[in-house]
Homo-oligomer: 233 residues x 2
């Protein structure tokens, strides 16, 4: 029997649940995967969609992971300067085979000092803020740089998951999972990127999220100053 692959997804309050659920669906189908949803305690964690998920393990009880994945969402902001979370990520990263993220989860990895000198994806709306951490933002759906894998915004987590599945278990297994998930996307509209959506919808997004984005920028900058002050890792 193949060795178990320990896969852990950080699951925090106000996570954009699909950032996590796309990769969870893909990666849990790997033949010898064990999927962990990790948070500080095992109390249910409320997602951005209002419902709650029960973590399967905690920072204290989590085994050494082969893959650590950090999703994003509004809840990312509270993690940027949360030493308990950043410390957990750094400890896991020492021996993890792959250090990964979806959406704004890459900012959390960056805040832990884990993306300095690496290319990474992020949600389009906030991608540029990676530069303050010495990371190199990439406008791609899935980015690999050495053992860092990152996905762009929300639904990019599925493309990311399949790419990582192929890396972990081979292309045939990844393709079999894609078939099982009937992942042959046909979006009814073509507005999935700022370029395709056009300036009016981009402006609408910026306007609606301006309050949250201001808070995000502030916390990101505070974290970047800290990472800069402690030098590259």
């Amino acid at each position: 029997m193949a060795d178990t692959i320990e896969i852990g997804i950080l699951f925090f309050p106000d996570v954009t649940q699909l950032d996590a659920m796309g990769p969870a669906q893909v990666l849990s189908r790997l033949p010898s995967a064990r999927l962990h949803m990790i948070w500080k305690s095992r109390e249910p964690v409320t997602t951005d969609c209002g419902f709650a998920v029960v973590p399967t393990t905690t920072f204290a009880d989590c085994p050494q992971l082969d893959v650590i994945c950090v999703p994003g969402g509004v809840g990312q902001v509270a993690l940027m300067n949360d030493e308990e979370t950043l410390g957990f990520l750094r400890r896991q990263a020492e021996a993890a085979r792959y250090i990964t993220s979806v959406c704004t989860g890459s900012l959390v990895l960056a805040a832990a000092g884990l993306l300095t000198g690496y290319r990474a994806a992020c949600h389009w709306s906030v991608r540029d803020e990676l530069t303050a951490f010495g990371a190199v933002p990439a406008a791609e759906r899935v980015v690999r740089d050495r053992n860092r894998f990152s996905g762009g915004g929300v639904t990019a987590g599925i493309d990311f998951g399949l790419s990582l599945a192929a890396e972990l278990a081979g292309e045939r297994t990844a393709k079999a999972i894609q078939l099982m998930m009937e992942y042959d996307p046909h979006p009814p509209f073509d507005s999935g990127s700022p370029e395709k959506a056009g300036p009016e919808l981009v402006a609408l997004y910026r306007e609606r999220t301006s309050g949250m984005m201001a808070r995000r920028r502030e916390e990101n900058q505070r974290a970047a100053a800290r990472v800069g002050a402690s030098g590259t890792r």
Copy 2:
């Protein structure tokens, strides 16, 4: 202020979580949506990926829904002849504006007698079994027939969700949600349908799922006999 749109997703043991989470992510972003995750009790419900989700309401407490959505997965099998669940769906369907499903959830709607005479989508592997219920299986990613909307397997739930979002709140709103979710899919492989994956991967899927598929067929047939016996609704 717009009236609240009550959106309910049936959330049952062994649900394929992404069947539910794709639409949940899309529909919870509608301006006046209230999303419910519904089951018999509010005890955490374990998904196919091992982690559990806490239902937000129960059959008994659920308000009249505008949209009822039934996802699929292995857990669908246990619902096919579960009168408590089928009764809940029938009661909600009397006044719901939209009766919807993702993946094998359409078989559950069919078992409740709610798809007789309707075209519907389903996971490719079991789509044909809809015919036993007097429904018309369609090999499409999103199918609309009057007030029935259905998505194909698993990830089709995102395409389904966006189509339903446009119906509920207009195309501009749906496009804004697509941009927020960065839904500009670029699958790393092209094996998301049986035609694209080819016979070898299809055979592998059939082989791996044969035990479950036999149980599924048996329960589906038992349900179909019951629906047939009680006449079309």
